[in-house]
């Protein structure tokens, strides 16, 4: 009897562990748009990719790599990695794993620290951030006044940073790894994007990330103390064309909703933040819109709406 009972408990526990969404939520790594560190080594066919370009850029800046920035893990890159590992007391394998990235970050930060002055005062007013993807720059506002500007790296052309008006929804002070130090997540509805430090400091000032906003580690530490969950973050820059293919309704999210919100605002109806969510603010704007144009008194963005807003 007892055996039967124990067997049943084990089965239930196993089912819970494998099937329960609560358990999955807690254990499965979320699909962060910026987690892109794979293991790099010399093999045939040669490895290619943007991460290799970044590796070459960092090693070049530190004086270990003299070849072309060609995004290919070739012999020259391999030798440069070995030289770096040897100089920094790491196992000389020519394989780039997390420990090599971390060491590159540390050395690069030390180099950069020597050249950068640090005299940053805590903002006293309400903080908001503007990330200008054109200029690769973050402007910190305090009560609407410019408080400080930080250089950043933004999404590369194939994985652009999310353009829109966001808010910080989570902060983590101890992330490390691919993110460098500190992580501040944005409420982008179509992916996991945030502001974080980097182990590729020489990418700062370029369009290099998978959409996240990279900062120097020393900067992100400072910024982290200035912002709170709820701090508004606006990102401006280029965006891939968005097509609206269906009616939009309250509760929906996505890039099409964001475009629709921007058009509403352009035409004088304020949807609140353009955050890709058909929430309360957008519903209020729709109510005004439909009333104003004498259309059916509902909140659905349909063909008439798109024609008036010039989306179609």
């Amino acid at each position: 009897m007892l055996k039967k009972f124990l067997f049943l408990v084990v089965i239930i526990l196993l089912m819970l562990m494998t099937m329960s969404p609560i358990y999955l939520e807690a254990t499965v790594e979320p699909d962060y748009n910026c987690l892109d560190n794979r293991e790099l080594w010399l093999r045939k066919p040669k490895m290619k990719g943007y991460d290799i370009l970044e590796l070459q850029r960092e090693l070049k800046a530190l004086g270990f790599y003299e070849g072309k920035l060609n995004s290919i893990y070739d012999q020259k890159t391999y030798q440069a990695v070995r030289r770096f590992q040897f100089a920094n007391g790491l196992p000389v394998t020519g394989v780039v794993r997390e420990n090599t990235w971390t060491q590159i970050t540390e050395v690069a930060n030390q180099v950069l620290l020597k050249t950068a002055a640090q005299n940053l005062e805590q903002p006293t007013g309400e903080v908001s951030l503007l990330i200008d993807a054109y200029r690769k720059e973050m402007i910190v506002y305090s009560d609407g006044e410019i408080h400080y500007k930080f250089p950043v790296a933004v999404g590369k052309p194939s994985t652009k940073s999310p353009i829109g008006e966001w808010a910080i929804i989570a902060k983590d002070a101890d992330w490390g790894g691919g993110f460098g130090v500190r992580w501040m997540r944005l409420n982008v509805p179509w992916g996991i994007y945030g502001i974080h430090g980097t182990n590729k400091p020489h990418s700062i000032g370029t369009a290099a990330s998978h959409g996240c906003i990279r900062m120097f580690n020393r900067h992100v530490k400072i910024l982290y103390t200035w912002v709170e969950v709820g701090t508004r973050v606006k990102i401006i820059g280029n965006r891939d064309p968005v097509e609206i293919t269906h009616d939009l309704r309250p509760g929906q999210t996505g890039k099409d909703v964001l475009l629709f919100q921007e058009k509403l605002r352009e035409h004088g109806f304020d949807p609140g933040y353009t955050d890709g969510r058909f929430g309360e603010g957008t519903q209020d704007a729709m109510k005004e819109f439909k009333y104003f144009y004498g259309l059916k008194d509902d909140l659905i963005a349909d063909d008439n709406t798109f024609y008036i807003l010039g989306i179609k």
Partner: protein, 474 residues
């Protein structure tokens, strides 16, 4: 004895004085209250005191809705300009939500927190019997040369704001109620557009035209969710006034039946899109894709959106009068105005004059710019010629608008109580209009029910009026 009498006399004196005070103050209160209840009288000759500070509250809507043009800036410049003439009149403005502004106004007036001036862009006209001020005392005031301001406003606009010998707002714009046609699609039917513009068209002509449309596989789209179309048809047929001043229903069973039958005949001819109940969803796409020949009803804002888009599209639009039961119909004209209010505790004729001065400044000096931007005809006659030369409309559309204004008609608004009754009547008409499109019922069924309900509404309100009269007499 004498002393006693003296003592008694002084008491009598005191009592007399107290009685006198009570009677006089009572009379004053009664007079003030009576004055408030039985028609508020304004002395329009009272001038604004240059040594006194006045505060005016002005409520408006953000009328330049695109981001390029800031309406706040426009208002602030208007106030600044006004203050050059009247530096002692401080104007505070508020911009309202389009969907909720009117409700907010009504609630605020009930709580005595309303504005001095309200820009009535939706044409409600009568809002508060107790606090709304007529403007005719100012308009009828003669200047030294004997001229009256009244003569400078379009008579159509003044008529639309008149009721019981008062004028209830300072007119700003005139808006003909028109349908929009797709010129290219209309041409396929061989319609003589010029003749329609000049002479209008009757229901038979419109039905014939719709038959030709069907043959060309083109459609007409009426928004079944917007009952304005029904009122436009009634108005074009000379049935704009729904109830008489004696609270009699002016709309007959025959009027309603004929109007619904006109729509039903169009429906039978297959001129509406197949999914008729959802045709409103195709309003603009069908128009721009040259599938719809006529779309209606189109309000001022939607019309402006069409004007703008027309510049980038190959499609050309034209304005059409709603067809009438008769050969020569009328074009319904709507009027927009600035409404003036007082506070429960009257601030004096000089305050009212200050309020009027700002309303007058907006209506006469600032309306031109607004009317040009919004493509509406100013109601202030001296501005109309300048509007014609300055408005950014195509020549053909301007000619059409002028022609429609010539054929325009408006009707008086009656009194506040009748206006409330009219609102109830309209609610019931709108229910009937909704039933026509969305419920599978015959016209006679819908109309019979409507007439029954309307008569009941009228009867109930007659009783209310009689009760009110009785209680007043008692």
């Amino acid at each position: 004895m004498w002393k006693k009498l003296k003592f008694n006399l002084s008491w009598i004196g005191i009592i007399t004085i107290m009685l006198l005070i009570t009677i006089i103050s009572g009379a004053v209160i009664f007079y003030v209250k009576f004055r408030a209840e039985t028609g508020f009288k304004i002395d329009p000759t009272v001038e604004v005191d240059p040594n006194q500070k006045y505060q005016i509250d002005y409520w408006d809507y953000p009328l330049f809705i695109d981001l390029e043009n800031d309406y706040r800036e426009f208002l602030e410049n208007t106030i600044e300009e006004f203050n050059k003439f009247y530096p002692n009149i401080e104007v505070n403005y508020q911009l309202l939500s389009f969907a909720e502004g009117e409700q907010r106004l009504k609630e605020s007036l009930l709580e005595d927190r309303g504005p001095d001036i309200y820009n009535d862009i939706f044409g409600t006209k009568l809002i508060s019997e107790e606090l709304q001020l007529p403007v005719n005392p100012f308009l009828k005031l003669e200047d030294e040369a004997g001229a009256k301001e009244l003569d400078n406003y379009d008579p159509l606009a003044l008529r639309a704001l008149s009721g019981e010998e008062e004028i209830w707002g300072l007119p700003t714009w005139l808006i003909p109620q028109l349908w929009v046609g797709n010129k290219g699609v209309l041409a396929q039917t061989g319609l003589d557009l010029e003749q329609v513009v000049q002479e209008g068209w009757n229901w038979q002509e419109f039905e014939k035209f719709s038959q030709e449309l069907s043959a060309e596989d083109k459609v007409i789209i009426f928004n079944p969710y917007n009952p304005e179309l029904f009122y436009q048809l009634l108005m074009a047929a000379g049935k704009g006034e729904l109830i008489s001043s004696e609270r009699r229903l002016l709309l007959t069973e025959k009027d309603l039946t004929e109007t619904f039958q006109f729509l039903e005949q169009l429906r039978d001819k297959g001129v509406f899109p197949r999914e008729e109940k959802r045709m409103n969803e195709k309003l603009l796409s069908y128009f721009w894709e040259n599938q719809a020949a006529v779309i209606a009803p189109i309000n001022l804002w939607l019309l402006n959106n069409l004007y703008q888009r027309e510049l980038n599209e190959g499609t050309e639009l034209t304005l059409l009068p709603p067809p009438s039961k008769f050969k020569k119909g009328v074009v319904p004209i709507e009027t927009r105005s600035l409404l003036l209010f007082r506070q429960e505790e009257y601030r004096g004729d000089d305050h009212t004059k200050a309020t009027y001065k700002f309303a007058q400044f907006v209506a006469q000096r600032k309306t031109l710019l607004l009317a040009k931007k919004l493509n509406v005809m100013p109601a202030y006659l001296p501005l109309q010629e300048e509007w014609l030369t300055g408005v950014g409309l195509k020549e053909g559309i301007k000619v059409q608008l002028l022609e429609y204004l010539k054929q325009g008609a408006s009707h008086e608004i009656g009194n506040f109580a009748d206006f409330d009754l009219e609102r109830l009547v309209k609610e019931r008409i709108e229910e009937g209009y909704h039933n026509f499109w969305f419920e599978d019922r015959s016209v006679s069924e819908i109309v019979t029910e409507m007439i029954f309900d309307l008569e009941q509404i009228i009867a109930e309100n007659k009783e209310v009026k009689t009760d009110e009269k009785d209680s007043f007499l008692n």
